[in-house]
């Protein structure tokens, strides 16, 4: 086995790709969560119009395959005179798709909180919006965390679709490298292992987060 192939060729290319992947995943995770919290909250507590908008958003972005969405952003929008960079198209595509799934977890979590707390907050003089934001959402986000975490793990892996819109991230670099040296087995195995490492790190971090924000006496706390 020729180790220099890994050190000379694989490592630099994949490292370059890894940075691009992280550059896609991190902002998409943040925007996706923000969109999800907003859309999920509107689904339950929004005015009828906003509720409807959030519903249609969820339907569209969970209904269209992600790859189709990316193609629409990158190859479709130019027909309307809107040109996005590959990176921008990917981040927008990932955030909107991810947000649609997060919204479902948040919606479910909001529904699981007893209405009494909302009543109590309103009885103290909270407006509905303020009560939802400062009383219900902090609890709902905690309850949605396992589901949202799962969605973040999906995001790590579907970030590999970015190379389909010419944003060369980890998988894209691997594809180029593998076809250049005709070493598909080796290269994709290494790439798979890198994703596995990212996912493991994310799962560990998410579990830690769940424990940190758990409410004493109310939720199971790992010790």
């Amino acid at each position: 086995m020729d180790l220099s192939f890994y050190t000379q060729e694989v490592a630099p290319a994949l490292l370059r790709g890894l940075w691009v992947s992280l550059g896609l995943i991190l902002p998409s995770a943040v925007f996706g969560l923000a969109i999800g919290v907003l859309a999920g909250t509107l689904r339950i507590y929004g005015r009828p119009l906003w509720k409807r908008v959030a519903e249609i958003y969820g339907l569209l972005f969970r209904g269209f395959p992600l790859l189709v969405q990316l193609y629409l952003w990158y190859f479709g929008l130019p027909q309307l005179g809107i040109y996005l960079s590959p990176y921008a198209a990917a981040v927008i595509g990932f955030s909107l798709c991810s947000g649609a799934y997060h919204a479902e977890y948040i919606r479910g979590a909001l529904r699981s909180i007893k209405q009494g707390q909302l009543q109590a907050a309103r009885a103290l003089g909270f407006s509905r919006t303020r009560a939802v934001v400062s009383i219900l959402l902090p609890q709902a986000i905690r309850r949605a965390l396992p589901g949202c975490g799962n969605e973040l793990i999906y995001l790590i892996k579907y970030s590999s679709l970015a190379y389909m819109v010419t944003c060369i991230e980890l998988t894209g670099e691997a594809k180029i490298l593998a076809s250049l040296f005709f070493k598909y087995l080796e290269v994709f195995f290494v790439v798979g292992a890198v994703y596995l490492a990212l996912v493991s790190l994310a799962s560990w971090g998410l579990r830690r987060l769940e424990d940190i924000v758990s409410i004493p006496g109310f939720e199971y706390v790992r010790r």
Binding site: K114, G116, Q117, Q119, A120, A121, R122, A123, L124, G125, F126, S127, R130, S134, I135, P138, Q139, R142, I215, P216, G217, F218
Partner: protein
Amino acid sequence: MSRPEPILRLENIHKSYTGQEVLKGVSLELHRGDIKVIIGPSGSGKSTLLHCINFLVTFEQGRVWLHEQEIDPADKPRLHAYRQKVGMIFQDFNLFDHLTALDNVQIGLVRVKKIPKRQARERALSELARVGLSDHVFKYPAELSGGQKQRVSIARALAMDPEVMLLDEPTSALDPELIGEVHAVIRNLAAGGMTMALVTHEIGFASGLAKEILFMENGLILEQGTPAAILNNATLDRTREFCAKIARLHTGGREPA
């Protein structure tokens, strides 16, 4: 001699749930220091009445005044200000599960009254001390007993400086052993001159506390009067029957007045 204006007045409240009329025109006045206890069988509309007073449910007909200012539920800022003046205690406490006892009391001060955090904290601590919970301020609701939870909820309401307190069966979700501590807190409030409307089945407690007892059934106040008049000398057969029934459950003397 004309009486001074009531703090809170409601007139002819009608409320239906899916076609079923649960309040059929209820009127009520609360003057400063009044303690009115509402009794009656389940489904008579007692809880709904308290919820209507606070506009926590919408109702089809009826008007509410605080200090002769009519409350329009569509005027949100005024409604929110009104609710701060009318403290509400729920049967199942409704504490905010993700907040400590201290934060439960403090959050309304910070988020609604916009009081600086340090001042809010001091106020919250003093309210918790007033209900005897100084040793439990950093506990979460799930770590408190039912009686402690209800006392936190009373502290939370008191921190908003209410002029009136509405208590909806504050002890009916509690172990018999824990009822006393909540009753003691309510008695203290009464002794401090707080104006209250209290829904309860604890007839012994009610008679020691109430200036007036109101008997509700089928969405109407059927009879009202002093505790002695209602409990021992009611005019209506139905009132007598109901009072006798719950008096048998709560055999007298358990609640020294």
